[in-house]
């Protein structure tokens, strides 16, 4: 299996594990302003996606992403199927030539565009877009303008998504099922923005493992590096 393909398979599995762990957390958030099915839908969908990509034979990243997206489409249904799964399917061709800083930016932009087209949501509507827009824009700027290493750019994007999730708490929903609640949605964190953040956090974790760990080591077998100071254990 290509290293990149394996990394994406690992990422899908990591997201599935995380969403299973967060199942009741997401369901609680969704009970407050939705119909209490987000935790179950995401956990079930991503578990199926992890299983499906696990069965692929030596896949390229594009195939893994497309397979995961198609599985989410059929397993999750509702609005989340097209938003989380359909967007992956449509963004997957951006990874045709593998994963580089450039293709990752293109992938993120297409994914965001598809989510926004499909959901017709903008920043401030209290949806997953509130996490995605700052994350994607931060990632793009960090790579293209600040010339940052992809991993640092991704870390910065995740931090931006986290602030976006916090931003959903005080605002009023104007898209999605929570919009039916109007002002009563104020004070509740958006479940879609939250699950989007969880997905991105797992991408960062897996990317960190694959980009940092083995590649550099063989060149300096005599000096294994011990990270100093900054590493935090979750």
């Amino acid at each position: 299996m290509s290293d990149e393909g394996a990394a994406v398979v690992a990422a899908v599995a990591a997201v599935a594990d995380r969403l299973e762990t967060e199942r009741s957390h997401l369901t609680d958030l969704d009970s407050a302003i939705g119909d209490a099915d987000h935790g179950g839908n995401m956990a079930r969908g991503w578990a199926a996606a992890a299983e499906a990509v696990g069965e692929l034979d030596d896949p390229e990243p594009m195939t893994v992403v497309k397979t995961a997206g198609k599985t989410l489409l059929s397993e999750v249904g509702g609005a989340s199927g097209p938003l989380y799964g359909g967007s992956l399917v449509f963004a997957s061709p951006e990874l045709e030539d593998g994963i580089t800083a450039e293709t990752a930016v293109a992938f993120a932009e297409t994914y965001l565009e598809k989510v926004q087209d499909r959901g017709d949501a903008r920043v401030g509507d209290k949806t997953m877009v509130d996490a995605l827009v700052p994350a994607v824009h931060t990632f793009k700027k960090s790579v293209e303008v600040d010339d940052m290493a992809p991993l640092s750019a991704l870390a910065k994007a995740v931090a931006a998504a986290e602030r976006g999730v916090d931003f959903t708490v005080p605002i009023r929903a104007s898209k999605g099922r929570a919009s039916y609640l109007g002002w009563r949605s104020v004070g509740h964190q958006d479940p879609g923005a939250t699950s989007t953040l969880f997905i991105m956090e797992e991408l960062l974790d897996v990317a960190t493992e694959h980009l940092e760990a083995p590649e550099e080591l063989p060149e300096h077998p005599e000096s294994p590096t011990i990270p100093d100071g900054e590493v935090t254990e979750d």
Partner: protein
């Protein structure tokens, strides 16, 4: 609550098999899906017309499969949108090369899954167009929808678009007449009792014995007003006034009407409503060209009805009056 079911999980599947068994010459099921198509789909050279949505609204949509109406219909779980992969199969099965019109009721899940499916089929080279039906005048934004909900007026879109496609018109023309119906139709419903989903087995919403809900949605989602129970004439006046207010028709305009049962209402009561509806239309100076009465788009076993009024011109009269041969609707 007593129900004529086996396992709630099997209801949709078993219903579809039962429909195929009832109309073996008219419909068939695409294996391993909840998609039914007319037996001879795709029809050579004809634009395909497809629709779909959650189950529980029978005969919508599969009851309208056949000559002059739909080529394919996808069934979701009860009150749940079909998934995009099933809708992809639906569109593909209806395409003879002339393109496919997707008729979508305006619910977020339905719209997103249809659009996703449409885009995927387009990548394979199929021409796809869509009409989103939002005829419910009762509420703007609701539990499942941004904007107005799509309800019984959808049947007239199936009819007009289906007739246009049967004439051999191209996709753009077929879409145009579908949209024309949407632009000229309004519906409002009411409930005497709640529906009961097979899964839950009890009332979806609590409606006291002496109250009714005006503006109810076809999934039992809230309407605009809960009032003390009224007579059939008073209810008909209320619904008709709201629909006509929205349509804002000129005196002398010809209309077609549907008094639609929600699933648990005796025909007797629907005809009582129709009697008053026609009287009211006359009072408004409107001329009824055709009036349908029956269960066209139901909400499981809900008791109640909806009233649909559609302004018609010569073109729409030709299309709505054109022949149709389907399990649920025959026009000769």
């Amino acid at each position: 609550m007593k129900k004529l079911i086996n396992d709630p999980d099997d209801v949709v599947d078993e219903m579809l098999d039962g429909m195929v068994a009832a109309y073996p010459d008219q419909v068939r099921r695409i294996p391993d899906t909840k998609v039914l198509v007319r037996d001879d789909a795709p029809v050579d050279g004809k634009v395909g017309i497809v629709s779909g949505g959650g189950s529980g609204h029978e005969p919508t949509h599969a009851g309208y499969l056949g000559k002059g109406m739909l080529d394919g219909a996808a069934a979701g779980e009860v009150f749940t949108s079909p998934t995009a992969d099933e809708l992809e199969e639906l569109v593909a099965a209806a395409d003879s090369g002339a393109g496919v019109l997707m008729v979508i009721k305006n619910y977020e899940g339905d719209v997103m899954n249809f659009e996703t499916a449409g885009e995927m089929v387009e990548m394979e080279g199929t021409d796809v167009a869509q009409v989103v039906v939002d005829d419910d005048v009762a509420v703007e934004d609701s539990l499942y929808t941004s904007g107005r909900r799509g309800v019984c007026g959808t049947i007239l879109v199936h009819k007009a678009a289906g007739a246009k496609a049967a004439e051999g018109a191209d996709l753009e023309e077929v879409q145009r007449v579908g949209q024309k119906v949407v632009d000229n139709v309004g519906t409002m419903g009411m409930a005497l009792t709640s529906c009961i989903t097979p899964e839950k087995g009890e009332a979806t919403f609590d409606l006291p014995e002496d109250e009714i809900e005006l503006g109810i949605g076809i999934h039992g989602e809230p309407g605009v007003e809960r009032t003390d129970v009224m007579s059939a004439d008073e209810i008909t006046e209320e619904l008709t006034a709201n629909v006509l207010d929205d349509l804002d028709l000129e005196e002398g305009q010809e209309v077609m009407t549907i008094v639609n049962g929600m699933g648990g209402t005796p025909q007797m009561e629907l005809f009582v409503v129709n009697r008053k509806l026609q009287e009211l239309l006359g009072d408004h100076g409107l001329e009824t060209w055709d009036a349908w009465v029956g269960d066209y788009m139901t909400s499981l076993d809900m008791e109640g009805c909806s009233i649909t009024v559609c302004a018609v011109d010569e073109e729409l009269k030709d299309l709505l009056g054109a022949p149709a041969e389907t399990p649920a609707l025959t026009v000769t």
